[in-house]
């Protein structure tokens, strides 16, 4: 009832979708489709290395978009998102190398296992808000990293699982070759993008944005806020797992690095860089970081230093709209 209490600041500026004007929606979809088609068109003429990076960017973009569903749309900053990505990647790695399981089997098992983990973790994390949510997701993410690192009989520990074979789909082109695999990844990413795009524009997706803006109002309107947040958490984990499956096939290797804290934070950076709550933005942010990391590491050994500076620079110099969205907690806690 304090009339002097600072009101929580508004959410991201770029958040409102083209919902009210179907024309804008179409234009966005068209723009996205054009970008995808363009990527598909230039791929055959690209040299091997840029094509590899492009494939990587496409896959990581799915991971970044999955986090955006949670962070940008629902307002929940997860610091353990690599967990679902990593669990799926490990599942594929282990099944494909030790049991020669095919694509369908790997995909189903990986999505199930990672989504189930998200369902358990979400149950623990959704109870907390603000900083506590951040720290709990961090700690839960570390559980997965710890297992990857220490459960040597299952995960081969620090050595990781190498030689993950790419699936054979019975097509004339082998996915072992870079170009067919790129198209495979592109198609998969487009599907994931479309699915998440529909999700955030659906009635449920609007509910998520409402939660980001005001939980108390949502409760008063009759929403079960917990349920919405929980579903968003699990769905976000599902799409992260989808990216993890692609990653395992792309990289041919799965190791603790895929589930570590820095991977989770890097995904946050991609979302923040591209603009939370836009899907396309985080996808572009993902591409930007992937290219930056790889190009810089070609020219200098000091790429960590530069990447660190990028983190700090993004926070200091990115327009306030990009991060202002997250200054929700009034800093005079009462």
């Amino acid at each position: 009832m304090t009339n002097g209490a600072p009101r929580s600041s508004p959410g991201p500026a770029a958040a409102s979708s083209g919902l009210t004007a179907p024309a804008t929606l179409d234009r966005k979809v068209v723009a996205g489709a054009v970008v995808l088609a363009l990527a598909g068109a230039v791929a055959p003429v690209l040299p091997a290395y840029p094509l590899t990076l492009l494939t990587q960017a496409v896959i990581v973009a799915v991971l970044a978009m999955s986090l955006d569903v949670l962070l940008g749309y629902t307002g929940l900053p997860s610091l353990g998102h690599a967990a679902y990505f990593g669990i799926a990647a490990y599942t594929v790695g282990i099944l494909a190398t030790e049991r020669q399981t095919g694509l369908a089997g790997c995909l189903v098992a990986a999505l199930l296992l990672a989504t189930a983990t998200a369902a358990v973790f979400g149950f623990l994390a959704i109870r907390a808000t603000g900083t506590y949510f951040l720290m709990i997701t961090l700690a839960l993410g570390m559980v997965v990293w710890g297992l990857a690192f220490r459960w040597v009989s299952m995960t081969k520990g620090d050595n990781g699982i190498a030689g993950v074979p790419r699936p054979e789909l019975g097509l004339p082109w082998s996915l072992a070759a870079p170009l067919p695999f790129f198209y495979f990844a592109l198609l998969a990413a487009a599907l994931a993008w479309a699915a998440m795009g529909v999700l955030v524009r659906s009635p449920f997706g609007l509910g998520l944005k409402g939660i980001r803006e005001s939980e108390s109002r949502m409760r008063a309107l009759g929403y079960n806020v917990w349920l919405h947040k929980y579903l968003a958490f699990v769905i976000s984990g599902f799409f992260a797992a989808f990216a993890g499956v692609l990653w395992a096939y792309y990289n041919g290797f799965v190791g603790p690095v895929d589930v570590q804290l820095v991977t989770s934070v890097e995904t946050l950076l991609m979302v923040a860089l591209g603009g939370p709550g836009t899907l396309a933005g985080p996808a572009l942010g993902a591409a930007a970081i992937v290219f930056l990391k790889n190009f810089v590491s070609v020219y200098t050994k000091r790429w960590l230093l530069i990447l660190g500076a990028v983190y700090i620079g993004v926070i200091l110099f990115a327009p306030r709209g990009v991060l202002g969205a997250f200054s929700r907690e009034p800093h005079s806690a009462r």
């Binding site: 962070l71 900053p77 610091l79 623990l124 109870r127 907390a128 603000g130 900083t131 506590y132 951040l134 720290m135 709990i136 961090l138 700690a139 839960l140 570390m142 559980v143 990293w145 710890g146 297992l147 690192f149 220490r150 459960w151 040597v152 009989s153 299952m154 570590q260 804290l261 820095v262 934070v265 946050l268 950076l269 923040a272 000091r302 960590l304 230093l305 990447l307 660190g308 500076a309 990028v310 983190y311 700090i312 993004v314 926070i315 200091l316 991060l323 202002g324 997250f326 200054s327 929700r328 907690e329 009034p330 800093h331 005079s332 806690a333 009462r334």
Partner: protein, 286 residues
Amino acid sequence: MSAEFWITQAFNGISYGALLFLLASGLSLIFGVMRIVNLAHGSYFMLGGYVGLSVVWRTGSFLAALVAGAVAIALIGIGMERLFLRRLPGQTLGQVLMTVGFALMFQDVALLVWGGDPYTIPVPAALQGIVTAGTLRFPAYRIFIIVVAVLIGVGLWVVLDRTRVGAMIRAAVDDREMAQGVGIRVPVVSLGVFALGAALAALGGVIGGGFLGVYPGADFEVLPYAFVVVIVGGLGSLPGAMVGSLLVGLLDNFGKALFPELSYFTLFAPMALILALRPTGLFGRA
């Protein structure tokens, strides 16, 4: 398993918990006063160890290493707070990303300066012995760690609970805005707490360097431990950091000894349980 096993493991757990306390108490204090989630806190631990190492090499004095490590890292902390973090009040995500940026840069700088090889900080001869009690053997250095942690814990408690400065810090934790409204220079208090937290982590790094060693990657290895301590104990609570450190130290040791492959699981599962029952930790307030 023999009683000897249990006692030795418990002792190891407690001494590791003592080291964690040095790390986590600073993290918890910083969070309490400034609401900053500092992901560079593990870097303070690692850099403290490296600075201590260089000082021992140069001077041969362990004591000088402790002092130099703490002071150097306190200065780094002051620079980070004053020049960067202060620009992001209340922006949790921005703080997380920025402190990770610093952590990556520190990691690279350490690699540049000290190389990729692991080192151990040589400890004074007086701390190298073994204390025996019947058939039990306790390394003197681990006893030293416990003593240091107890002294620092008591010191922190006395300062926080018994002095005017401590009351000012607690006032800033309770209500940052109103603390300014009664004339407390909260920005100065914050800076001091940040420097103290960084210095404690660095102290932990130098001491830890004597038995865990100093090596690249130590920063992100200890960080989750510190976070678990703070989460379990409750953000911003000194007693919470004490109890949390002991709990985590014991769980980690017994976990590693009994279920080596699942040792992280044995550490984090109880944490999850505590959180499910008390989302703000054992001693935390909402």
